[in-house]
């Protein structure tokens, strides 16, 4: 096994982590501010991917598609918040799980209704096609590097938004005491809609970017949703820093596990068996990591103070 291959896998893990961060940031923000557990977040990711693929196919431009995905997912998020989610803030988590589970059914079937059962395809934009030489790696896909770049920009942007702007101040205030900021005259209903739409837009962005790597199809959001939940639970629900750390951890552990575990088992077992056990264990690895972390830190690594 060469070092170059190892670094390439590490970068792939980082790319997965960055994508998970875009999902997890929205989820954790929504949970932190509104106390809502939103299973339908994966559907917003799917909406973003479909919007991007459909608009890119119609206009021929990935970039217009990307803008469309942000608008579509933010709009879908805002409408969902106003019509349904708003009624769930005072309910217990069980009702929230159930209502958003129902939303998943509606979003998935609605998308199938609109676009049919066949997957859509989205091409990588010409500007980002091809590979770039990296020191120590050889060639690495430019598009994946761009995703990592977008993730870093979003992470820094979110930090500034939350720590430095008026909206961020309100979000933080909403996290610590929602009655009080309502009493101080902040329109908390609009704030909630804005936060939800922001989270939805991040999920849509992730969906659109990943859409060019995979096929765009109904149900694509669900595996990502579960991974994003693992991320925020590991990181501590409500903490953006935790989401970033958890996302990178999950992305890298998952990718490296799939790459390394079969090789490690091959040192002590026959090749066929090693591949089998390695692959089975690798697919369970992040859940094992999560169970392990929660067993020792029951509220995650960066539990938000509340």
């Amino acid at each position: 096994m060469s070092i170059a291959l190892l670094i390439e896998q590490l970068l792939n893990g980082l790319q997965l982590g960055v994508m998970l961060f875009l999902m997890a940031a929205g989820l954790t923000l929504i949970f932190g501010v509104m106390g809502l557990i939103n299973l339908a977040h994966g559907s917003l990711y799917m909406v973003g991917a479909f919007a991007c693929a459909a608009v890119a196919a119609a206009t021929g431009s990935f970039w217009i598609g990307l803008v469309a995905s942000l608008i579509a997912s933010a709009a879908a998020g805002a409408i969902t918040e106003i019509v349904v989610i708003r009624r769930l803030y005072d309910r217990d988590h069980l009702d929230q799980v159930l209502a958003t589970f129902a939303l998943i059914l509606m979003f998935s079937e609605g998308m199938r209704w609109l676009f049919g059962s066949f997957p859509l395809y989205l091409d990588i934009p010409p500007l980002l096609q091809g590979a770039v030489p990296l020191p120590g790696v050889g060639q690495y896909q430019l598009y994946r590097l761009a995703i990592i770049g977008v993730g870093i920009v979003v992470a820094i942007g979110l930090y500034f938004l939350i720590a430095r702007t008026r909206l961020g101040m309100r979000i933080r205030a909403g996290e610590s005491d929602r009655e009080m900021i309502g009493a101080l005259g902040v329109d908390i209903r609009t704030l909630y809609t804005v936060v939800f739409a922001l989270g939805a837009a991040l999920a849509g962005l992730a969906g659109a970017m990943v859409g060019a790597l995979q096929s765009v199809q109904v149900g694509m959001g669900e595996p990502v949703l579960i991974l994003a939940f693992v991320v925020i639970v590991i990181g501590g629900i409500g903490s953006i820093k935790g989401a970033l750390f958890g996302a990178i951890l999950v992305g890298v552990v998952d990718t490296m596990g799939r790459f390394l575990l079969p090789k490690i088992f091959a040192l002590v077992l026959p090749a066929a068996q090693a591949g089998l056990i390695g692959a089975a264990l690798a697919s369970m690895l992040i859940y094992i990591v999560m169970a392990f972390i929660l067993a020792f830190r029951p509220s995650g690594l960066f539990a938000a103070q509340s």
């Binding site: 069980l94 009702d95 589970f101 129902a102 509606m106 579960i226 693992v230 929660l294």
Partner: protein, 329 residues
């Protein structure tokens, strides 16, 4: 609760539901409509799984989003044991497979218990959303193991060529198999009723309402909850074994998080912590599924819409509607 001279409204509704569930396949059988017997069996098996979950979720307030794990494990026990018996290959350590349902149920109960114990012990250290998520994580772990382990079909699942046997009953006959499932469901409901009425049930419900007070009177909530979680998993496991026998097929989809969601949906549709809640929920769910499936190919959309409306506007579910508010808080 003080003894009541007359049957309460809920008891009457419960008896009616039980009779309806029995009369439906008997009528279908008299008219030779096997399909409806299968539909009724599906209701009964799903209800049994949900009665199991209702012990943890309804009585204990433990929102397990991973009960599909036990449902699927039960299914795989049935599938694996009967495959080994069918091929006449011994399992590990020379133990033979079997096609006897009671043995399969016993093994399913034991396996689910053994696996639920550590899962419960770890998960119950957490509360709230974390509990929901960690139970989901454990179920996903088992799901991915089943998908990636090729010995028993992997992603494609495992077929059971001949339905397993029950002494003295021809299980290949749809009505006989229905009756086996129905009797098991009634036994499970009896157990649920006994548990709820016993001191154990009182402690479990007290722990849901206020764990600190429960601890203050000298009962550790953790132990009570762990027992409830394990018993609940065992019951769901038997339902899984029956479900595999009903479909003559078991696949990782029985372990998927969608299945866990569906089990919760059954309870909420019917009425949380109510004795017949899961039964009413399963009846409603399967009938909606069947009726909508006949009208539109996009029935899942409308199923979602109905669910959403139940959660938002009809708290208390079907039993809340039929029998009034639950007496237990």
């Amino acid at each position: 609760m003080p003894p009541k001279p007359r049957l309460s409204r809920e008891t009457v509704v419960n008896i009616l539901l039980a009779l309806m569930l029995l009369a439906f396949p008997l009528g279908a059988s008299a008219m030779g409509e096997t399909f409806y017997i299968t539909l009724a069996t599906r209701i009964v098996v799903l209800a049994l799984a949900a009665v199991g979950l209702n012990i943890a979720l309804g009585l204990g307030g433990l929102v397990s989003f991973g009960h599909a794990a036990f449902f699927g494990l039960g299914g795989y026990v049935a599938g694996i044991l009967s495959t080994h018996a069918f091929n006449a290959e011994p399992l590990l350590f020379g133990i033979e497979g079997t096609t006897s349902m009671p043995v399969i149920w016993l093994v399913a109960v034991m396996i689910c218990g053994i696996i639920a114990l550590p899962i419960g012990a770890i998960s119950l250290r957490t509360t709230g959303v974390y509990f929901i998520m960690i139970t989901l994580a454990f179920a996903q772990m088992i799901y991915f193991f089943a998908v990636s382990w090729p010995a028993y079909g992997g992603e494609d699942g495992l077929s059971i060529y001949v339905r397993n046997e029950f002494p003295g009953v021809n299980t290949a006959q749809p009505l006989s198999f229905f009756l086996i499932c129905y009797v098991l469901l009634m036994l499970a409901l009896g157990l649920f009723w006994l548990l709820r009425g016993a001191r154990f049930g009182a402690a479990l419900e007290a722990g849901r309402q206020n764990a600190t007070r429960l601890a203050a009177v000298g009962i550790a909530p953790f132990n009570i909850r762990l027992v409830a979680f394990v018993v609940s998993a065992m019951m769901t496991g038997i339902a899984g074994a029956l479900f595999a026998d009903l479909n003559k097929f078991v696949s990782p989809s029985m372990l998927s998080w969608h299945m866990s969601g569906e089990l919760i949906v059954l309870i909420i549709l019917g009425g949380k912590a109510r004795l017949f809640g899961p039964v009413a929920g399963a009846m409603l769910y399967v009938l909606i599924e069947y009726a909508l499936g006949g009208i539109t190919e996009h029935w899942q959309f409308f199923l979602g819409l109905i669910l959403l409306c139940v959660v938002l506007f009809a708290r208390g579910g079907l039993l809340g509607l039929l029998a009034g508010k639950a007496r237990h808080g």
